[in-house]
Symmetry: C2
Subunit: 376 residues, 2 copies
């Protein structure tokens, strides 16, 4: 994996860059659609390419490990072979899902024991095993096993947890460096900064992560319920420390506003279930602002959902038709809204990139946030 | 609407023809995907055209009347304008859905009173009103308001019901002929033969229907639970009477076998929810036979679902991937299986047509039934 930093915006810390993987290039800043169980919910693979213009998608290690399971994925030639997506892939470590299981999991120094949410079967994720699993899934970018602290989180817990995440990281790195990719492409391991909303812990964690000198770095444990200002404050601390010449990935973020602010603070990669989850509930992000398609005002609006996007679902279907489908709980409603919202998110980061390259990102950003966050 | 009969198979009563409507041509025999509430469940409009190669789709009057309602549909310029499908459309009369409401409806000579399954609101469908509704929906082919008798049905009930259906038909024809299309295309009204499984009633009904001299004729009240042999026997009686120079539409049928037998008995048009409903449950119809994708044997079968179809979903996705999606109840599983099954059904009637044109339909049919009904 290679990262080229093309430009830094003169009025902010926003960067335009390019990541090159064995499965192709990723222009940054980038948003990565979430494909939990090997599928972006409601979206065909060719729609990801031709309508959404996705450059990289995510898979969730926890879900893929349980279903279809490692044996099937390995026989398929990894996740790329299994779901037919031939562009870059990133997998999370499974930690976030395991910790979300609450009373169904137990964390020790060794790792995390948990019961499957599907059949209650018992499993154990250790840092080493999570590396082995992600070797089998075969994503281009894989994540270290960390503990994502909840919010709020007291200082003592956050500090202990951060140190454990660091110790787990050393074990991840050791295992990763001792093993080889299973398939015919290289893999890169990204470590994850933790430290909750405590600036001194975030600083300490970012320094530790930076020292590991991996090909990219991630920031976890944010967008878990804390005020957006706290998230931005932590990003500022962390991005000042993480090396400029490597991509920075803010995990699980967020709204269009969060993403543009994250970019302004020097972040390059984002992922979030918001565009697809909200789509299924009828909330649309458009180039004109936010639409709740359930509102009566859209029932006889026969204009396209969003004519400004190069996306069949956004241009072909009308707001009135989509409102009808969502109201009737028709599958096609979730499909159209999901493809559209993802097309908007990718368009958003493409726009951000163009303004960074043009040198006017800092003046464009507040206007863009105002426009895209307006409720229509 | 125009119907040209091209060829009749020398070894059966199978026919190849062409229907011409203001929205384009329909080559017969044809299968029509069912788009209940203005959407074929899980299928994008462009997939209907480019992958499934559908030539005409159905809408359900009952569902569209309730949601989005006539006001919205009329403002949209009819169903074509509302859902963006610019090829031929057919709507049923709503009768079948209303009669399925059982204790929530009451049938009188005047029509059918019913309570909405959505909010319990009270409504009344009369033959005249159903014509008015279908004028507003604006399908190219619209259906008379009939009573679809259940199975089993005693002779007395079937006879009385048939006569009421005939009286209702006269009222439908009167209203239809006194009114004009609302939009810029013509509409054709098809009457429906009833008479349950009683040959003399079917004969009487077919004669009455034929006398009305409409542009096409339909056969209702079959595939409601009776043995397939009874259905074929009724078709034989009816198709001998319905005029050769007009298309014959067998409503709500059926399996690939039912369709090929129906074609052999001189039927030209079919519709059924089976391909999409069964798809959502993991039952696939393929050019090699029937697959229950939930079976363990498919979990590591990385061959395409059906490489013989000119359909992205059939060719791009593997059986193992589809099995995983259906098992996980992922929306994309229902989507892929629905598009695939419909592509198979359209391919099936296209194959039938080619064999009719080649004059070997009668010898091809038993082999085709054997192959397509084999459980793999």
């Amino acid at each position: 994996m290679k990262f080229e930093l093309k430009t830094t915006d003169p009025g902010s810390k926003a960067r335009a860059g390019k990541i090159t993987t064995d499965h192709g290039e990723i222009l940054t800043p980038i948003f990565m659609p979430v494909g939990t169980a090997g599928t972006v919910k409601g979206v065909h693979q060719r729609e990801l390419k031709d309508d959404i213009h996705a450059q990289i998608i995510l898979g969730n290690t926890y879900h893929l490990y349980l279903r279809p399971g490692l044996d099937i994925i390995q026989k398929a030639g990894g996740l790329h072979g299994f779901n037919g997506w031939d562009k870059p892939l990133l997998t999370d470590s499974g930690g976030y899902q395991v910790f979300s299981l609450k009373e169904m999991r137990k964390i020790t120094e060794e790792g995390a024991k948990f019961s499957s949410h599907i059949d209650g079967s018992k499993h154990m994720f250790s840092p080493e095993y999570v590396m082995d699993i992600q070797r089998i899934i075969g994503a281009d970018i894989i994540m270290a096993f960390d503990e994502c602290t909840p919010y709020p989180c007291d200082y003592g817990y956050a500090e202990n947890s951060m140190h454990m995440t660091h110790r787990w990281l050393k074990r991840c790195i050791k295992r990763f460096d001792e093993t080889e990719p299973i398939y015919d492409h290289t893999q890169s391991l990204f470590p994850i900064v933790q430290g909750s909303v405590y600036p001194d812990l975030r600083k300490q964690s970012a320094e530790f992560i930076a020292e590991q000198n991996r090909e990219g770095n991630a920031i976890g444990g944010l967008s878990v319920g804390e005020p957006a200002e706290d998230m931005y404050a932590m990003l500022e601390v962390v991005n000042d420390i993480l090396p400029k010449e490597k991509p920075r990935y803010l995990m699980g973020v967020g709204t269009p506003e969060n993403i543009l602010e994250g970019i302004a603070l020097g972040t390059d990669m984002f992922d979030c279930v918001m565009p697809t989850r909200n789509a299924r509930n009828g909330m649309l992000f458009t180039t004109e602002g936010i639409i709740n398609i359930r509102n009566k005002k859209w029932e006889d609006d026969f204009s396209p959902i969003d004519p400004n996007l190069d996306c069949y679902s956004s241009k072909f279907y009308t707001k009135a038709y989509l409102k009808h489908l969502i109201k009737c709980k028709e599958m096609l409603g979730s499909q159209i809204a999901s493809v559209h919202n993802l097309a908007f998110y990718i368009w958003l980061v493409e726009q951000a990139r163009e303004h960074i390259l043009a040198g006017d990102f800092a003046t464009w950003k507040p206007k863009a946030i105002k426009q895209f966050m307006t409720r229509l």
